[in-house]
């Protein structure tokens, strides 16, 4: 009786899993089918590297957006990664374990704050500060990078904390028993042992910064959201804060528009070639995020085979 019930449950789960996976694959295929013709027609190089984006005139060069995405992402990493790793080190090595047990879930909860909230803070507080003290329009790459840097903190802290926590205590004891200070033990041994896990956290956070949180989890998921023209969820903050100029940025104080922001802005009204070009951007994001995810997986696997 029990065996039979189990078998049925197994079948049902299998069907659900298969349909989930096949719908993901279908969606991915759909994006590629819609997106690749433009690239082929224009030539991949021209699509990626020409600077004119003017859908009315039929010009679809996404270089400014690629540049904007890269600047914003790199900026976010420069801000978020050191802070996040420092936070993870602090929580693991310098405060009692009970603090870690309370604070870590709290930090992970921060990941659930809707991105529009971060965007709102960016627009109301950060952008005016930048405008008044550093110049420029305020809504800028810098503002977007700072906001994104904060948004990726939970990802970096959470995964780095796990990586550091997984370092065997015997390394810690060995280092301290040789007369190392806590800090020496951390940077000479523990960070080296946790290196691949920390790398993974940074790469995943990068995926999040470029696409969105779900993108970091699964590149295909990201594409669904993009394909439906509703990339609003996670990219909301960047759309709000980065300003909205499709122009090659020359300084972090310039406004810019990222790849995801472009899709989110224009998908609703786009038709014909314009629409195809937006799907092509989706393809570009898809590929970038797949590459990042693969790197993260590989570096995590590096850790498990090592120990």
């Amino acid at each position: 009786m029990k065996a039979r019930g189990e078998k049925i449950a197994q079948r049902i789960l299998l069907v659900i899993a298969l349909s989930a996976i096949s719908s993901l694959i279908l969606i991915a295929l759909f994006i590629f089918k819609e997106g690749t013709p433009v690239m082929l027609r224009m030539g991949l190089r021209k699509f990626l590297f020409s600077r004119e984006w003017d859908p009315q005139a039929g010009l679809f060069g996404i270089y400014p957006m690629i540049a904007a995405s890269l600047w914003v992402t790199l900026g976010a990493m420069l801000i978020g990664a050191p802070l996040g790793i420092a936070g993870a080190i602090f929580l693991n090595e310098f405060v009692p374990k009970t603090v870690l047990r309370i604070v870590k879930p709290a930090i992970e909860l921060l990941a659930g704050i809707p991105s529009v909230v971060y965007g709102f803070i960016g627009v109301m507080v950060l952008a005016p500060l930048i405008r008044d003290h550093l110049g420029g329009p305020g809504l800028s790459i810098l503002a977007a990078a700072i906001i994104l840097g904060v948004m990726i903190l939970p990802t970096v802290i959470s995964i780095s904390t796990d990586a550091i926590g997984a370092v065997p205590n015997s390394y810690r004891e060995g280092a301290l028993a040789l007369g190392a200070t806590r800090w020496q033990a951390v940077h000479m041994v523990i960070l080296k042992a946790a290196r691949s896990g920390i790398m993974a956290s940074i790469i995943l956070a990068m995926g999040r910064a470029i696409g969105d949180l779900k993108a970091a989890r699964s590149g295909i998921m990201a594409s669904i959201i993009l394909a439906m023209g509703r990339a609003i969820g996670e990219t909301m903050a960047v759309i709000m804060v980065a300003g909205n100029t499709v122009k090659l940025p020359h300084s972090v104080l310039d406004s810019a528009r990222t790849l995801t922001a472009t899709i989110a802005f224009e998908m609703a009204s786009a038709t014909g070639r314009h629409r195809e070009a937006l799907f092509a951007i989706g393809v570009v994001l898809f590929v970038i995020i797949m590459i990042l995810n693969t790197c993260a997986t590989v570096s995590l696997r590096g850790r498990t085979t090592r120990s």
């Binding site: 301290l176 040789l178 007369g179």
Partner: protein, 253 residues
């Protein structure tokens, strides 16, 4: 009891929270001798050993009373620099725990911690330490490979080399051979006898033959008490305390 004891425990009690793991332990350990601590599991051997390099300090809720004197000075006196203490009193752990670094970086770790980084300074010490741990010939061609790729007994001797590099004068060993096979154990034991010429060694062991083979003095512990301690040969052939007799003859428990 000689006055020139290297290490002297005076009424040392240690509490893990409310649990009294060491009960007013008195003991002396002589310079350049091997002192073995034996006793059933959980009797406090490791705890006693770890009072010497203050590794117990790392555990929250530990309280210690009494005096632990090394060269006459109480190492729990306020103002004692624990990192300096740990350089003088090195420790080998039960499971070999080389760092996930190269062989070279493992051995030079203690030096780098002390601020000695130039290759010219480190290189001679590296070779000397590895030779002293009888490891030089095996690893001299793979100094830059990961220490984790060495076989277990070489890892354990690497951990010993790592200590020797910082020139401690006391070496603590907590069941250093329990992860090793008999041949590797024999090698480490021979090494200990060699090291004894220069260092004071304290070893915790479950293996009574090992204690009999290598130690000069043995202490038998039970439930946090130091039941008796004395010259190894005497203690094994003619134990004074009834409980020691029972343990040695296998009638314990």
């Amino acid at each position: 009891m000689s006055l020139d004891a290297k290490i002297r425990f005076e009424l040392v009690s240690l509490f893990y929270g409310a649990f009294e793991a060491l009960k007013q332990v008195n003991m002396t350990m002589a310079e350049r001798q091997i002192t073995a601590l034996i006793g059933p599991s959980g009797c406090g051997k490791s705890t006693l050993l770890r009072t010497l390099n203050r590794m117990n300090d790392l555990i929250p809720g530990v309280r210690i009373t009494g005096l632990v004197r090394v060269d006459g000075r109480n190492i729990y006196a306020p103002g004692t620099d624990v990192t300096t203490l740990r350089k003088r009193i090195g420790m080998v752990f039960q499971r070999p725990n080389p760092f996930p670094l190269s062989v070279r970086d493992n051995v030079s770790f203690g030096l780098r911690v002390a601020g000695l980084t130039s290759r010219a300074d480190v290189e001679p010490i590296l070779e000397r330490s590895l030779r002293a741990a009888w490891l030089w010939d095996q690893v001299k061609d793979r100094l830059d490979q990961s220490a984790l790729d060495l076989p277990l007994d070489q890892q354990q001797r690497l951990c010993i080399a790592r200590l020797l590099a910082v020139e401690p004068d006391i070496i603590l060993m907590d069941e250093p051979c329990s992860a090793l096979d008999p041949i590797a154990t024999g090698k480490v034991e021979d090494l200990m006898l060699e090291l004894k010429k220069q260092y004071t060694i304290v070893i915790v062991t479950h293996n009574m033959q090992q204690a009999a083979r290598i130690s000069d003095v043995t202490g038998y512990m039970l439930l946090g008490d130091m039941i008796e301690s004395g010259a190894t040969a005497a203690l094994f052939t003619n134990p004074q305390d009834r409980r020691t007799q029972d343990y040695l003859s296998g009638r314990y428990g």
